[in-house]
Symmetry: D2
Subunit: 337 residues, 4 copies
């Protein structure tokens, strides 16, 4: 059996560990042949494919990034008015046929799941692994990369506490999360944020100001505000800047902002993410070995299982008011807006 593997979408700690998990299981347990498809779906268009053997896997467990490269190529997009010779789905099928790939493993986020579902619909054997620091892929409790991103963000928030307290300031930190506030919620709670703003929960700037002023009255003349990048703002401002300006206006407190940015998605994975990535990669190979295609690997509770790709594609997993960490945060006096 010959399997191809590709990584698509944004960088995320644990991709290489997943590749290792897929390949080691495939090669040493099932005697499959494995091929690396480079730069995401673009490698299927360009026939840019390399063989992977056990030696290619050395050091991958702890290494950030992806040895296969990635891209944001979406081969099923804008197909109207394209000459047949440039029809991307056809080009991909040609490569898969030429390379005699029995299956393609796609490691990626929501966009990748959508593309993979479409590829599967053309008759290709596809298995996917969810990959996102944002944790917003529907159908899995947690994605690898999320724990790493939360750890980095939490460490950054830890560092801001000393400045906030030494200068009696409000420190606003913006973390990743366009539509889903998972990183803000988890790092905000782990970092001791006093105010945590998510795209999913509407906020009222007066209530935020009141929270800061009430802290002052209790002898804490400083506050930490954790905001997801995707919260609504006015005037096209970035989240952190907008909230910092509003807080300064409301409270008169000196307020400073930090945008954490790309360091959240770079570097090696945490131990937690390494094991999750390894298990998910191994399970992808199990699905292939047992002929279960068109499925996305998934974590449910503490068990690795899988869900039909068709159920996943196009959906987002969002934070809700009923999430235990939101409820617990509110009970502890944290302001969610």
């Amino acid at each position: 059996m010959r399997i191809g593997i590709l990584t698509s979408g944004g960088d995320c700690p644990g991709i290489n560990a997943t590749i290792r998990g897929v390949c080691k299981t495939a090669i040493s347990h099932y005697g499959m042949e494995v091929y690396g498809i480079r730069s995401g779906f673009r490698g299927l268009l360009d026939n840019d494919i390399i063989p992977l053997d056990e030696n290619s896997l050395t050091g991958l467990l702890s290494m950030g990034g992806t040895i296969l490269g990635t891209s944001r190529e979406k081969p099923f997009k804008n197909r109207a008015n394209v000459p047949v010779s440039e029809d991307k789905p056809a080009m991909m099928l040609k490569t898969i046929r030429e390379r005699k790939l029995d299956c393609v493993v796609c490691i990626g986020g929501n966009g990748t799941q959508k593309t993979a579902a479409k590829l599967a619909a053309t008759g290709v054997n596809v298995v996917t692994v969810p990959k996102t620091i944002d944790n917003d892929v529907w159908g899995t409790d947690i994605s690898f990369g999320f724990d790493s991103a939360v750890s980095i963000a939490t460490e950054a928030i830890d560092r801001l506490h000393s400045t906030a307290s030494a200068h009696q300031r409000v420190m606003v930190i913006e973390v990743m999360g366009h539509k889903a506030g998972w990183i803000a919620l988890y790092s905000g709670m782990a970092g001791g944020g006093d105010i945590i703003l998510l795209p999913e929960i509407p906020f009222d700037i007066h209530r935020i100001g009141d929270t800061i002023i009430n802290r002052l009255k209790k002898g804490k003349p400083y506050s930490i505000v954790v905001v997801a990048e995707g919260i609504p703002t006015l005037g096209g401002k970035k989240a952190a800047q907008y909230i910092a300006e509003e807080i300064e206006y409301e409270t008169g407190f000196e307020t400073r902002e930090t945008v954490l940015g790309y360091i959240q998605r770079g570097g090696g994975p945490t131990a937690f993410d390494r094991n999750l990535a390894t298990r998910m990669g191994g399970h992808a190979t199990e699905l292939i070995a047992s002929g279960q295609f068109g499925r996305m690997v998934s974590l449910r509770g503490s068990e690795i299982t899988s869900v039909p790709l068709s159920e996943v594609a196009g959906k987002l997993k969002l934070v809700t008011e009923e999430h235990d960490l939101v409820i617990q945060g509110r009970r502890m006096g944290i302001c969610f807006g």
Copy 2:
């Protein structure tokens, strides 16, 4: 309502975050009064109790150790032939009555759960939170402290790789785990161990030697061996020393050992453990508020719930051959003995 809180048994990252979770919820949400009982159950014997308010909780989320102190005091042990005036259970009840504590929250490992169950059997309202880096408390999927210990051990194993490879050596590292091999399993898998030995899985030193020699044949003249401290040895030797000597004898490879020791249980918790500890602490207060006593807080899948203390006490949660990470490890060619 007045609640007392104590921490008992070994140090563990996340205890202070749990105390904070219990107290913030109790004080700011339920208006309860909270008292800290010092040095575990000894504080109940000695009436060594201090009030806790919101200011006592500043900085606790990320702080290692326990602000309440701990001890290994087991007040229900060896009660025969003790004069009534020195009967420890009676002394504890006296303190609880004098201090008018409506409930005692006990944060601790297996020994603590046992003691707490006995205390509950005397009629005291008890709620417990499992606390162990070893992850061997029955009735919960994961305990806080475990992720932190695994992270520290994984980072240590990461460091050994460079020495193993530069010197073409076998490096043996001993991690904590007397009866349960959870830390060895999780850090061994996350750290890229080639051989992982747990108390629960019998090993054969010849098979270990073969694994090392096969790696040499594949061009990898070095190996990483992760052993739990509780594996069986001969001659009263410590786990790492015994395995290192046996490997050197079997293979002729230069072999070096490291015993990780106490640094696994010290220092601040990971982001994962902070959130787990916060949620568990908060849930303990919820149990009190709703009058559900005699229960241990528990993580099941991704949900915080609770189990009857009577079901927990005296049982250990061990690694089994059916554990997904063991199965996945075997598929990838890792030797478990």
Copy 3:
């Protein structure tokens, strides 16, 4: 002997370790009394002063921020047209006299050294310790806080490598340094930056573009650019944004920017900074004990010594083309502009 100690200007890892170094030496070796002046020079204006004893020092060695608080109060600024009763220097002298302080230890950066020199000129016994993550205080080879800031920035740059390489992008990271490029130079070199831009060295955007294109030709279709916040830009743009836009325009490469911001100055100090801070704090007390006032503690080579405050005040220590790390960087093909 009674000494007062204050911390002024921006937050910096190692301030608390310096306070501990001053106080432990003063209290346990010389039997002096020590008083903490809160919120920088503002504490001298407001007579906001607390006694410090050995118990106040527990845990300070590794703690970020400053237990005394800080401010940017400049009491010698804008003295014209101020009524005598509000003359700040006089107010400070009144506090010092009332509190019977024989000496004031000022821990701070360039602004603080200037203020301290003016305070010394009024006849007050002053000893200072340089404190700046920017490393731009004249008269000392290194200031504590610098190694910590460089470590944090280097770790961030490390993380960007995986994203740069996975996405074949140019990643621009902006680190602190308004006038001096020390952090950019040291973290850029330690983090493997390909292009490093400092306020002190003029740059030519074409040469930067050529460097990136030459790397592409050598098979490296990605680059890391480290810029100090203080480099000249056009249109009021921030350093990272300006450089990223210019690179994208010049080369056509997808370019992303990150502004590291406040996390560089928060959190606990590295081992290096703890020892430097401890030694500098101890030396400050030595100067007091031997009656050498009007001096700033200084590191020269590996020796702790001191320089006259009057020589320090108003000068900046800048990177020059002759600095060994610049010369070495150029030899290795790094582009400094």
Copy 4:
């Protein structure tokens, strides 16, 4: 010009950064050819040599270990009664001649400096770079690897504080340093050790006990003891075990020991060590380019320079009572024995 480069002796963070510094300067600045000699001096015996180009250097700056491998081969030892055909110095000269190496760069500790000096005495052009986590190479203020080892040890000591304080125990930690106590001194001071024992300073167990008991009297019923592995013990016991037993006997305090071991020398270098290694590597190439052979690169104050190998070989740099950090430690009440 053709240069060979080898790494010899124990693993040490920063070796790969040094190799990169030597090679990048040699290749891109001077147009030299560079060859990697594998497994230390053994590679010269076995003619095990590979070409190094710029692509071989990717990722080396932050990578632990040595890509060239290392060994403890001492080719000038035990030469009596060896047949001429097996005379190791002659074998090395043959390789150097055959490979047309104009110079050999040796990166290593004290043993390596000795061997290199002997190799130089046979007429070979030799330049060396000091490499030791122990910091005991004579002729340089600091060696790369030392800051990394101190950082790791300090972080470990930080972790022990929480256990010591939670359990009211004495925690003894053994760090590396057979003859020189540099790591114990620097990590002990940075980690807030209460007692620091070095091979260079004789200790009295009663004084150690008194220190612990005095701390108890001051309300600190726990202590941290940092010991170098090379302190004298009785009965062939390891340093930590011996001291822990003696303290328990003297004071009655529950005492626990940790031996940090190999994790001190593994893994990637700190930012400080990366820059030191880069500068030292670059300077080695400068020495070659300017024909200055028989010299060891050296850090003096903040300047990189070099010293004659003949002055270095056979000497050890030890801690003395006059070292500033010892003096400062004593002033702060730390017990050095």
